[in-house]
């Protein structure tokens, strides 16, 4: 039997982890069991400290972006805009992997074959630069480059969590579909902002030329036969955690269920629902 001080210490660890990175189902279970056994409830000051931390992340860097860097970005933006074929191209709804840039670095090169419009490219560069500037300011050291973590959707997800008051967070539930057997993750959705993000870990890799994943959002205000298309996306690396923005094609009034299906490469307007891999039901 664990000593009471040990149990309390473990409980504090779990509270802290929960505020910062969230708990695995096993840890959440342990937390509930320990809270029940000790009769101690979570310390609200930890939640407030975590909220303050998230707020700190929203504050703009005090240092103005170096003028030279700003000029480079504007110049790059203008050059791209002047290209004859610079019409924005609809991007694939896939997590964007951007290099983690130090504040003084050159703007990110756009990978060849990276089909994005110039406006989005410029936005991506700006995000990368600002993220790099913030990281450098807070770390006091320049972070390593060449990371493969998809920072842009992650940062956007964190910003939504910190900014929107009505965010719902749901855990994915797997079906018996083989592609979802090792899958886990969650989904966040803000009804007021009509924005959200999906996180996946272990969802089977797809071959975009053969099939793609597609999100469906069931809206209580709509005919359930016609859920809202939440966008198509790919899983390139099933072992890495991937954050995918939700791309709802229609306004969602009252989301009741989110479902991921496997569809043909271009996605479909109405799914036959033969291959449902993940679902997340909104609790009423």
């Amino acid at each position: 039997m664990t000593d009471v001080p040990d149990r309390h210490a473990r409980l504090v660890e779990l509270w802290l982890d929960d505020q910062l990175v969230g708990l695995s189902p096993e840890d959440a279970e342990q937390r509930a069991a320990l809270e029940h056994a000790t009769g101690i409830e979570a310390d609200p000051s930890l939640e407030r400290a975590a909220a303050a931390l998230h707020l700190a992340m929203l504050e703009p860097p005090p240092e103005v972006m170096p003028e030279a860097l700003q000029e480079k970005i504007v110049a790059a933006f203008s050059e791209k805009a002047a290209e004859p074929d610079a019409a924005p191209v609809e991007p694939r709804s896939q997590a964007v992997v951007i290099p983690w840039m130090p504040a003084q670095a050159e703007p990110a090169e756009v990978p060849s074959g990276f089909a994005i419009g110039w406006g989005r490219w410029a936005a991506t560069v700006l995000i990368a630069v600002l993220v790099g500037a913030l990281g450098t300011r807070l770390f006091g050291v320049e972070p390593s480059q060449n990371t493969t973590i998809d920072l842009a959707p992650r940062a956007a997800r964190q910003a939504l969590l910190a900014d929107a008051k009505d965010v719902i967070r749901l855990e994915w539930k797997t079906t018996d579909n083989a592609q979802a057997q090792a899958a886990s993750g969650d989904l966040v959705w803000s009804p007021s902002k009509q924005r959200g993000f999906m996180r996946f870990r272990g969802l089977a890799k797809n071959v975009p030329e053969k099939s793609r994943y597609q999100l469906w959002i069931f809206d209580q205000k709509r005919d359930e036969r016609y859920p809202v298309d939440g966008g198509v996306f790919d899983i390139a690396e099933p072992t890495n955690e991937i954050v995918v923005p939700i791309d709802a094609k229609l306004p969602v009034t009252t989301a009741s269920l989110f479902a991921v299906t496997v569809e043909p490469p271009k996605g479909v307007v109405v799914s036959d629902r033969e291959q449902i891999v993940l679902t997340a039901k909104v609790k009423n």
Binding site: A52, A56, G135
Partner: protein, 64 residues
Amino acid sequence: MACRALAQLPQEERRVLVLASYYGLTHQEIARETDQPLGTVKTRARRGLLRLRALLEQAPGGAL
């Protein structure tokens, strides 16, 4: 105020908190990205948040 409190944390604790809070990385991902043992990352994250709470409580007017 929170930003100032964050700036007072030891660099490694601050770094872990930012990676977790701003970038949404998990303990495992932070360990991999920063080349630190997982246990070290967890300890720094927890200590950092506790220290941040203490700093905010001590701040004029009490942020908490």
